[in-house]
C-alpha cells in the first residue's frame, strides 16, 4: 500500500487549514486595547480576547480556581461592576439568583471585550505565587500525611490562622485547596495535613509521588475563615478529620500568644486509628489551663479501649453545652448571664458535620454571626 501520498496530503491539508485559521483570526477577531479597572483604583490595560481569569493570572493576581478555566468548579466567583456582558449559560449552574443580581460572575467565563470594571476583596491582593520545597513528610494516620513546605520564593508568607492555600498539580492547570495547619508566626514555612482521597488528583500526587526535596508551587493565602482577633469571646472549635488543619493553626497561634481567650476544642474521628495530634493537643492542655481538648470517637472499636467521649462530635458538643449552661444557672437566674451567646465558634470538617454543628450551636443560643466555618 502506498503511504507516501496520504502522509503528504495530510500535511498539505493541515498546512492549508492552519493558514486559513490564522488568516481568519487576524481578520475576524478585533484587536483593541481594553482597560480593566479593579476596585476603582488599580487600572490595567490589556489586549481584548482573553478571559478575566487568565488576565488576573498574567498580572499576578491570584483568585481561587480549581478547574483551570473550564467552568466546572465554580470557585472563581468575582464581582463584575460593568462591561462583563450578559451572564452565560455555562455560569448559570453556579450562580444563584441573589448572586446574579449582585453582579457575581465566573472569572474564567468573562471575556474581556471592552473596558471592564471589577471588584475584588482587598485580601486577594495579598495572595501571591510561592515556590516551596518539601522539607518533611510524615504519616499521621493510615490515610493522612503531614507535609512541611519551606518557602523559597518569596521567602516569607503572611496569613491569618485558618486560611488556605492552593497547590498547583504538576502537569495540569488545576489547583487543589488545603488549609494551612501551622501558626502564622512561623512565616518561612507552612505545614499541611492532607488526607488521601481515593482517586483524588492532588492528594494522590502528594501522598504517592512527592518526596522530600521536591519543589511545589502554590498560591495563597485565601479564605474568609480565619480567627477574628478583634473579639475577646470564648471560643469553641469543632473539627472532623482533616478539619484539624485550620483549627490547629488557630490554636497554635493562640498558644504562642499565651492563650488569652478560653478555648474548647472538640475533635471528632471514627475510630482510634483516625485520631491524630492527640498528644500535641493534650500537652497544650496541660500547659494552658484556658485550653481544653475533647477528642471523641463515633464508632470506637473494642480493641481501642477508648475511655473518652463517644458519639458524633455534634452530640458531644450538645452534652458539653448543656453542662456549660447548667453550671451557670444561678448567674442565669440573676439575669446577668447571656447564655451561650458569649461564645464564638470555628468549625471545619465535612459539610454534614458543619450543618449539624451549626444547628446544635444555634439551638443552644450561640449567635449565628459568631459561627465561622469552612466546609470541604
Amino acid at each position: 500500500m502506498n503511504l507516501i501520498t496520504p502522509v503528504i496530503l495530510m500535511n498539505i491539508i493541515l498546512f492549508i487549514i492552519t493558514v486559513l485559521l490564522i488568516f481568519a483570526e487576524s481578520v475576524l477577531v478585533p484587536h483593541k486595547i481594553c482597560k480593566v479597572v479593579i476596585n476603582k483604583e488599580r487600572v490595567f490595560t490589556t489586549e481584548s480576547g482573553a478571559s478575566l481569569l487568565s488576565f488576573f493570572t498574567k498580572n499576578k493576581i491570584f483568585i481561587p480556581s480549581a478547574c483551570g478555566g473550564k467552568a466546572t468548579c465554580g470557585h472563581c466567583k468575582i464581582k463584575v461592576l460593568n462591561g462583563g456582558g450578559p451572564i452565560l449559560p455555562t455560569e448559570e449552574v453556579f450562580i444563584t439568583q441573589k448572586e446574579k443580581s449582585a453582579g457575581i460572575r465566573l472569572a474564567c467565563q468573562v471575556k474581556i471585550k471592552q473596558d471592564i470594571e471589577v471588584y475584588l476583596p482587598e485580601h486577594l491582593f495579598e495572595a501571591k505565587e510561592y515556590q516551596a520545597v518539601v522539607e518533611e513528610i510524615s504519616s499521621l494516620t493510615h490515610d493522612i500525611k503531614h507535609f512541611t513546605l519551606k518557602l523559597l520564593e518569596p521567602k516569607t508568607i503572611n496569613f491569618k490562622p485558618g486560611q488556605y492555600i492552593q497547590i498547583k498539580v504538576p502537569g495540569t492547570e488545576e489547583f487543589r485547596a488545603y488549609s494551612i495547619a501551622s501558626s502564622p508566626r512561623q512565616n518561612d514555612r507552612i505545614e499541611l495535613i492532607i488526607r488521601l482521597v481515593h482517586g483524588g488528583l492532588c492528594s494522590t500526587y502528594m501522598h504517592n509521588v512527592l518526596e522530600v526535596g521536591d519543589k511545589v508551587v502554590f498560591t495563597g493565602p485565601f479564605g474568609e475563615f480565619f480567627l477574628r482577633e478583634e473579639s475577646d469571646k470564648e471560643i469553641i472549635c469543632i473539627a472532623g478529620g482533616c478539619g484539624m488543619s485550620p483549627i490547629r493553626s488557630i490554636i497554635l497561634y493562640l498558644a504562642e500568644l499565651g492563650m488569652p481567650r478560653k478555648v474548647t476544642y472538640f475533635f471528632g474521628a471514627r475510630t482510634k486509628k483516625d485520631l491524630f495530634y492527640v498528644e500535641e493537643m493534650t500537652e497544650l492542655e496541660k500547659k494552658y489551663p484556658n485550653f481544653k481538648f475533647i477528642p471523641a470517637l463515633s464508632e470506637p472499636e473494642p480493641e481501642d479501649k477508648w475511655e473518652g467521649e463517644v458519639g458524633l462530635i455534634t452530640q458531644v458538643v450538645e452534652r458539653y453545652l448543656d453542662i456549660y449552661m447548667n453550671g451557670r444557672y444561678e448567674i442565669y437566674l440573676s439575669g446577668r448571664y447571656e447564655g451561650a451567646g458569649v461564645l464564638e465558634s470555628y468549625l471545619c470538617g465535612p459539610p454534614p458535620m458543619i450543618d449539624a454543628a451549626i444547628k446544635v450551636l444555634t439551638k443552644k443560643g450561640v449567635h449565628i454571626e459568631n459561627v465561622y466555618y469552612d466546609k470541604f
Binding site: M1, N2, L3, T5, P6, V7, L9, M10, I13, L14, I17, L20, L21, A24, E25, L28, V29, P30, G85, P86, L88, P89, T90, E92, V93, Q109
Partner: protein, 196 residues
C-alpha cells in the same frame, strides 16, 4: 441501498437515534443536562455543527481523499476539519452575531470533542451515503440527539422539584437510569423504518 433520503432523516431521529441506540455523545448528555435552557442551547449548536461538519467532510472525503486513495487518513482529517470549522464558526459568530454567540457559541468548543460529530462523518463513509443522504442523516442524527438531551434535562428538572432521589443515585447515576429507560422506550420505534 436505495432508501429514500427522507426515510433516512426520520430513521436517524427515532429508531436509529444516535444517543439512545448507538450510545454515542454520552458525556454532554450526562454533564450538561442539568438545566433545560442550557440543554436546548447545546442541542441547537449540535444540530448546526454536526450538519455543517458532515457536509464539509463529505466534500473532503469524496473530492480529496477518495481520488487520491488516501482513506487511511480520513480519521485524522475528519477531526482536523471538525476542529477547524468549529473554531471558524465561533469567530464568525463572535464578530457578526454576538447575541447568538452568547446563547449558543460558548458550547461550540465543547462540541468539538463530542463523539457524535465524528461518528456521523464515519457512518456516512461506512454507509456510502450520497450528498443528499448525508445531509439528511447528519441533520436527523443531530436532531435526534438534541431531542434526547432536551428530554433528559426536562425529566431531571422535574425530578429535582418533586422526587426524593436516594443519596446513592443522585447526579450521574439517575441520569444513566433515565437514559436507560428512554433507550428502552425508543426501541419501540424500531419497527417504524429500517435503514442500514
Amino acid at each position: 441501498m436505495n432508501t429514500h433520503p427522507l426515510l433516512i432523516f426520520i430513521a436517524a431521529i427515532f429508531p436509529h437515534n444516535i444517543a439512545l441506540t448507538y450510545i454515542l455523545g454520552m458525556c454532554p448528555l450526562i454533564a450538561i443536562s442539568k438545566n433545560l435552557k442550557t440543554a436546548f442551547g447545546m442541542g441547537i449548536s449540535v444540530i448546526f455543527v454536526v450538519t455543517l461538519t458532515a457536509v464539509i467532510n463529505w466534500f473532503v472525503y469524496n473530492l480529496i481523499l477518495l481520488p487520491t486513495n488516501s482513506q487511511i487518513i480520513s480519521y485524522v482529517i475528519f477531526i482536523i476539519t471538525i476542529a477547524a470549522s468549529v473554531q471558524l464558526v465561533e469567530m464568525l459568530l463572535e464578530r457578526f452575531f454576538p447575541p447568538l454567540q452568547v446563547a449558543f457559541g460558548i458550547f461550540l468548543p465543547l462540541i468539538t470533542v463530542n463523539c457524535i460529530v465524528l461518528a456521523v462523518s464515519l457512518f456516512m463513509v461506512l454507509r456510502e451515503y450520497d450528498f443528499i443522504k448525508t445531509v439528511c442523516f447528519a441533520s436527523g442524527s443531530a436532531i435526534g440527539w438534541a431531542i434526547t438531551i432536551v428530554t433528559v434535562s426536562a425529566i431531571k428538572e422535574k425530578l429535582l422539584l418533586i422526587a426524593d432521589i436516594p443519596k446513592g443515585l443522585k447526579g450521574p447515576a439517575i441520569t444513566m437510569i433515565i437514559l436507560g429507560i428512554l433507550s428502552l422506550a425508543f426501541m419501540g420505534f424500531g419497527g417504524m423504518v429500517k435503514i442500514r
